[in-house]
Structures are given as C-alpha cells and as structure tokens.
Amino acid sequence: MTAALIGKSVSRVDGRLKVTGAATYAAEFEVPNLAHAAVVRSIVANGRLASIDTAEAERAPGVIALVTHRNAPKLAYQPHKGLPDAAVGERLHVLQDDRVTHQGQPIALVVAETLEQAVYAAEVVRVTYRNEAAATDVAAVDPVLPTGKPAEWEIRRGEADSAFEQAEFRVDQTYVIPRENHNPIEMFATIASWEGDSLTLWDKTQWVHNVAEEIAAVFGIAAENVRVISPFVGGAFGSGLRCWPHVTLAALGARVDGRPVKLVLSRREMYYGVGYRPHTVQRVALGASRDGQLQAIRHEGHQETSTYEEFTEALLSATRFLHACPNVHTRHRIAPMHVHTPTYMRAPGEASGIYALESAMDELAVALSMDPVDLRLRNEPDRDEFKDLPFSSRSTKECYRAAAERFGWSQRTAEPRSMRDGRLLIGWGMASATYPMNYAPASALARLLPDGTAEVMSAASDMGPGTWTSMTQVAADTLGLPVERVKFTLGDTRLPRAPVHGGSMTMASVGSAVQAACRKAREDALARAGSNDLEEAMERLGQVIEATADVAPGDETKRFSMHAFGAVFVEVAVDPDLGETRVRRIVGAYGAGRVVNPKIARSQCIGGMIGGIGMALMEHSVVDPRNGRVTNANLAEYAVPVHADAPPVMDVIFVDEHDPHVNPLGVKGLGEIALVGVAPAIANAIFHATGKRVRELPITPDKLL
C-alpha cells in the first residue's frame, strides 16, 4: 500500500502539457478541411431587421456560405432546459426570424476558407434596422417579481418591518454592483463536424453532456448522435455553464457548407455572445440592540435580465442563515430589459448578496462602536434559522479566530483614518463568507489493467481548479496505487456522465463517484485473485477488471444545512491625493471540509481573492444606457487585476473540519467561497482607511476624491 494521497500537495498531472503548450483547447484540434466562421451582430437593442445586403460579402474571396434568417434552415428548437438555463423563458433562437432583442444578437453567419476572409466578409454585410424603443437603462426599469409563486421570491421570518422600526441601532442603505463579465483568457470556441446526422463538437464548455443535449434539441436529433469533446478549458468562471448560441451557429455553418467549421468568438463578442454577472441593486436594512444583537434584517435586491429569459440567482439565500436574527425579510426581483440573458459568474448570488450584507454589517458595527468581528460573533447562530436544521458543520468562529490572529487584527485601531503609512491611509476590514455545499449525481468508470496501472474516467470538466489532478489522487488513494500508475480522463460525452462543472460541486460529486468506482474495482480484483495486494492481484488475474459507480445524495439535505464558511481580512493603502486603493494583504480562512490537494486548493483560493479585488476595485462592463452597447468590451478598458495589482501578502488558511454528512469524500468545495467576502472586506477596509463609505462597485479613485 502506498501512503494516503488525499490531502497531499501533488503537482498537477497535466502540468507538463500546460507548460509546454501541448494542452489542446477547443479551437486547437486539428480537423481536416476546416472552414472558418465569423458572426455579424446587431448594433441595435430592439427592433426588426429591415434589410440585409449580403452581395458584397458573398462576392468576397474565400466565402463559402452566408447564412441569415432569410436562408437559414428552420431549426427544431425542441424544448430543453439544462440546469444552468433560466427556469422561465425560452433561449435565444439564432437566424430564425427578423426580430432583434438586444445588442450583439447574431444576425448573420459567414463561412469562408480562412479566418481573415470570414472576418472581412462579415464586416461588409450591410444591415438596416427598424428601431423600436428599447429598455437598456437599468435605473429606468421597474423591477418585478419573477414568474412563479410570490412566496418563492419574498420570504419572511418573524416581523422584520416592526422589529426594524423598534431597533435602537439601524442601518438602511443601498448597494450597487454593475454588470461584470467573466472574461476568461480563452475565448469561446467551437469546431463542428457533421457525418450524416451525427455531429462532433470540440467545444469550450463546463458541461459536455449539456451541450450535447442542447444541440440535439436545437437540431432535432438524438443526443447520442452528438459527441462533445472538451479536455481543457481556458478559464470560464461560469461563462461555460450554459450552451450558448455560438455553438448552434458553428453546427449550423458546418451543416450548410458540408465541411467542418471553426467559430472562435472575438474578445468583443465575449461581451455579447455569453452571459455576465448582472447589474444588481440591493437595499439592506439592519436593526440591532445596543449590545449588538440583530433584531431585524430586510434585504431586497433586483437584477437585470433579458426580455426572453428570467435569470435569477441565489442573491439573498445567505442572508437568511449567515447571522442569527429572529426577524428577516428578503425580496428578490428582476428588471427585464433589452439585453441578452445574464448568467452565473463565480459565486453567483452569494458574491453579490454577501457584498451588500457584509457591508451593512460593517456599517452597523460602526454605528454600534463595536469591533466588526465581535458583532459577528454575537450573532453566530447555533443552527440554520431559515431551514430550522442543524448545520452539518460550521467553522465560522474558528475562521474568524484563525484569520484574525494571522492578520494581527488585535492591533487595529477602530477610528477611520487612524492608521497610516507615511502619507498613505491604511485600512483594515473584514467580512464573512459562505457558499452552499453542492453534491449532485455523478458516475465514473475504473478499469484495472494487468500491468498494475489503472484508467479512471468521468465526463467531468477542468476549467482550472485541477480536476485532472484531484481525481487522479482520489483514484490512486482508493486503489492504493502511486499517482503515476493512474490515468484519469475527462471532458468527453463518451465517458460516464458527470454533473455541471460549477457551483463548487465537482470534487464532491465526481470525486465521490471516482472513489466508489475505484473501491468496487479494487475489491473485485482482490476477491477474484484472493490477494491483499492489488498489483499482485492484477498480475495474477492477467485480465482487465472494470467497475462503474453512480453516486447521488441521500436525504442529508433534509437533516442538515450544509455550507462552507469562511472569513476574509484585508489591508488596503489608499492614496489620499490620488484616491488609488492598493490591496496590501489578504488573509482568508475557510472551513470547507476536507482539502484533497492543499497546493492546488491554495491556487484556487488566491485566484478567488484576485477575482474579488477585481470586483471591488476594477470590474465594470459599462453599458451605454441609451442603447445597451458595452462601451468597454475589451481587456484594455474592462480592467481586471494584473500582476502589479496582486497583494504582496496572500495567506490562505484551511481550518481543520471533518464533516461526515456532506458526501462520501467529506469535501465542501472551494471555487466559489474563495471569491465571496473579498469585495466587502475591501470595501470595509477602504471605509476604515478613509472614513468614506462607497456603496457602488467598483471603488475607483474618482469615488474616493
């Protein structure tokens, strides 16, 4: 037996491929006879296509096909809702009619011999529109409750209104988060190739099976006839959860021209062709007694969505259980506009909702003249007061203690502007974090070979968190083999089904399936060979031993409230003359169950911190309120953190947490919680530095002067 591998800092098994440029991303597969596609997109937000003049484009060199709604095949668009799709509404249909509902909507597809020819021809397609009035200014749209039972969107515990009125200390403020785009560095890309009625897609996606099912529904073919291959994903952060219209366009182009087609979105198209974190307006009212006991929480929020789908996320969920409070009222609304549908972006819901809640908590601490950590400790619940269930585990107190100690929080002076470094204002702030433990049905196959190696597989995805590596570790650990003897494979619909690679559920779900399949295969091999040693058993058997396993959650959600919890502490330095904020230190402590690989888990956490710095200080897709156009749809004007923005000190603490209830592996997931809490901790630190409370992200220099 080899030593336990779960919990060890193994280097990435796909590391060599990635540092030599040999890892193959969606646009990089060599497919013979490939043609290139480019998309013509609407430049109005609402109306109808009056005319499309394709004559010049069709004459342009190299053009093979030019598809508009006038000549496009009628697509089946059979009903299909994947988990990441909006529950209410119908997905965008492409090139099926003359209706335009948002900026950047695909209105023509060019297929040409080369990329340069396709791009050129797309530029000379002449389009005129019959403009109609468009709702593109979120501030001018009246929010409404989403479709469904009002009780799903407006949730009450106790009497929040009267308790708030009677509270001795009150905070009632509005917080705004602008639209943000995921901006993974790899742009979305699809290569589509038909053979008869069978389609192969090399695609950038967080869920190969969902792409197969969606495209099958769009084209009216069987999902088994669509193979989706996606071994490497160059970042996605939620943008690859859904199957977006460009996948349909690539398949349509290949259908029309009879050759394989490659479609790669441009960086500008990344702001129109896939979803985004929606513009969110939240009002939080907190009432507390003099000793800091929360007596009322009222939290309402609304978010932009499209006219054709109702996007909603768990914006207000955490408010209902993060802090103890007898009187809570949450209300979630949407603002339908002539925009394309938003989608989940890293820590969807929690990142936005907890920004508002934890900012308001900081304001309450100031009003009470109480240390913000003390305020949270005074309101630490002993059970989930919303679900009325015990937590399966909750390490908030340990996270506050560990992070505060590492940070040196006891040295903080409470008064704003009281800490300085020369002429710079220093601020220390903190916030809580939480994200649900998600565990979904998953399958895996383990195959033991006579030479003492193993092949293990599941149609999972790895957009960066290290699925390739962590699954290899779980398999090797379970089989008792060294990592080098186990080959894990993912990212292909021909492999056993995995759930969507999002919501921090991959380790819990796919990891548990891999463990179960390996356990079955090992036990089978040992039993057949009558041996205690797997390598010896396999040699003796001289044949392949295979086992598949399907795992699924039981009734634990009925018995426990299951979440990861964390605390984030931040030091900022603000230049009082220039209004520039630099994050100097971040310390995050997380109670997230078992950590399979501390080395790559740390990468995930510092990555979340960098994402949170972007959210707090930089990120903003600037939408022109007159026409819905994104005015900064590129990486020079949509600012994201660069090397120089990374804090010199980034500290990640995993508090010891054993949770036997969540899933067989005892993991809670890290990808999302790593981002939650960072933006409010920074905003709170900026208040501590400057005495100025900025309630609209990003906190750019102009807002501090």
């Binding site: 590391g15 990635k18 030599t20 080369t114 790899e186």
Partner: protein, 177 residues
C-alpha cells in the same frame, strides 16, 4: 522568392489581397507559407503551422497570452504581421524545452503551481523568460511590474512571481558559474 506575390493566386482572388510567400524561422526550423497578407504571426502559428501553444486571448495586444520571443525580445504575436516576421528568429513555447528537459521556468511553473486553467501560461512563461533575461526579475516588485502585460484571469500571480524568482535564481547561479 520570399515576399513575392504569386500571380496565379492574385488573379484568382480578384480584388482580394494576393497571397504572400513567407518564410518563418520558428524554434530553429524554417517554414515556408503562402499567406494572406493580413495574417498575424499568431494566426500563422496557430492556424497554418498548428503550433497552438501560443494562445489567442484577445487579438488586440491586451492580454499577453500570445507572447513569443522575436530575436530574443518578447513580442505579442497577435500584433505582429506574419509577413513582417520574416528573417527574424522566433521562439515559441514549443521550442523552450531541450527535448524532454523542461526549461527551468517551465519546471518552476509546475513546482509552484503557477497556473490553473493553463491558457495564459505559455505567454506568462515566454514573458517570464524575457523578464529574467532583461534583468527585470531582481525582486518580486520588479517582476510584478514587468509582467503586468500578461493577464491571468485565474489569478495565479502570486505563484507566477514565485516561479520566476526560482528560475531567475537558477539562471543567475549558472551564469555566475
């Protein structure tokens, strides 16, 4: 002849830009290509030579994922026209390792876990190699400043800086004998 327009193709393309015969020296090997003059060096590498290690993240010179070395200097391949790269010595990520032996920076990227998704990694490594040879890897602050043209959306900056420091130390110890 390098740079010459092929008359037959020019005629066939009508008003279109005629194809150019371009000779590119990449990782020590000469490649002869017939290219649309609009072809960038990055697209020549990725679409014509299947050297897909150099990544396209924006096509606008804003993300650095396409960074390659041209005569030892780091350049953004997406802003360089392939035809103008003729006669230059181009090194891409595929040419960095010596056979099976990784370049010290490639090895330290793995050791330090200096990436997640891996998509910006080629550009980070090529820029990092240049950053070290330029003498801009003397301190973490220096590295942060001189690597800021290479975006990493997964946020691996802390580990990239550590990896470059490690490789810079190897490089200075070998240079120092």
């Amino acid at each position: 002849m390098p740079g010459a327009i092929s008359p037959a193709l020019a005629q066939a393309a009508g008003a279109a830009p005629a194809l150019l015969d371009v000779s590119l020296r990449i990782n020590g090997t000469e490649h002869r290509l017939s290219l649309d003059p609009r072809t960038t060096l990055l697209d020549a590498l990725r679409e014509h030579l299947h050297l897909t290690g150099s990544k396209k993240g924006c096509g606008l010179g804003q993300c650095g994922a396409c960074t390659v070395l041209m005569d030892g200097m780091r350049v953004k391949a997406c802003l360089s026209l392939a035809a103008l790269a003729q006669g230059r010595e181009i090194k891409t990520i595929e040419g960095l390792a010596q056979g099976d032996e990784l370049h010290p920076l490639q090895a330290s990227f793995i050791e330090r876990d200096a990436f997640q998704c891996g998509y910006c990694t080629s550009g980070q490594i090529m820029a990092g190699v240049a950053c070290i040879s330029e003498g801009h890897a003397g301190s973490p602050q220096d590295i942060r400043e001189w690597m800021s043209g290479n975006l990493c959306r997964c946020g691996a900056y802390d580990h990239i800086v550590a990896a470059i420091q490690d490789a810079a130390a190897v490089s200075s110890s070998t240079q120092g004998g």
